[in-house]
């Protein structure tokens, strides 16, 4: 129960931040890809810089997680094609409907019901990948 509340609280913060920074907004994504505003680049850039510092701190100080085990971030598997092409396809969708997976759910929660169709599409896309993945270059 406490564990569940803990994760709800983290998610709640994530949802509020993404909404109040307007990173969930189609407009902001469009503006970002037109290079008209620094706002989105500032958000992503600050998150990366803070993340790098945080993870370096964790590694150097050998900080343990709440279960007393070392914090290990799994390494993404080697490859190129999947990252370039998968990334490209994702980017096309991101700029088209102005939402990545987090915002799809956050906007649905906020009451933007047509995002339900984006979610259905995303589930279908995930399913298609799972079915044909062995035939794709990675």
């Amino acid at each position: 129960m406490i564990k569940t509340l803990k994760y709800i609280a983290v998610g709640f913060l994530f949802g509020v931040v993404l909404t109040k920074s307007e990173a969930v907004s189609w407009y902001r994504i469009y503006e970002m890809f037109l290079f008209h505003s620094f706002h989105m680049y500032g958000i992503i850039g600050t998150a990366i810089v803070t993340g790098i510092i945080g993870l370096q701190f964790i590694k150097r100080k050998k900080i343990k997680n709440n279960k007393g085990n070392p914090i290990v971030i799994p390494i993404k598997e080697k490859g190129s094609f999947r990252y370039w092409i998968g990334g490209l396809l994702f980017g096309l969708g991101w700029a088209l409907v102005g939402a990545c997976p987090g915002p799809i759910f956050i906007l649905l929660g906020a009451g933007f019901l047509p995002l339900g169709l984006v979610l259905i599409g995303a589930l279908l896309g995930t399913f298609i990948y799972g079915v044909i993945k062995d035939n794709l270059p990675h």
Binding site: I8, I48, I52, G93, G125, Y129
Partner: protein, 186 residues
Amino acid sequence: MDSLFYTWHWSISGFLIAAVMLVLNYYGKVFGVSSNLRTLCTVMGAHKHSDFFKFDWKAQRWNLVVLFGAMLGGWFAVHFLSDPSNVQLHPATLYQLQQLGIDVPHGNLEPTKLFGNAVLSSPKKIIFLLVGGLLIGFGSRYAGGCTSGHAIAGISNLQRQSLKAVIGFFVGGLIMAHFIFPLIFS
């Protein structure tokens, strides 16, 4: 307190997003939203069609709970922390929107033309939303992550693979915003 209602500054927002990732790391988890889509496919029975969906989805339950919290956060922020001053776009973006016939924000997060409930009665808009979702779902799984897993978590962990994916995200996004989108909506 008023500042909670205005658009949050990018530096505070970026810092808090990284904080979310680090807290999850402290709980022994990894930050990544799109893997929830795979989990949801498994919950709905996709493992009967592909081994890719054969995994212990209950070990991913925490991530679904985070997602549920995020939905509550979105609901709370829109209903209790909104202000008509929100979503102040650059004038050049506003001009571009008018050229495309898309309504300007007036404090709203999403344009009514693309995301208002009326789109549900337009076949063209329904296809637009489904295709967008399809690209996001397929692309993020093919690339092994989305904005959270690659752009934030992967690059923070200095992973070359994530950098490739994020360059892909931006190349795709630029092609869409500059070349394809204007063709669809003009």
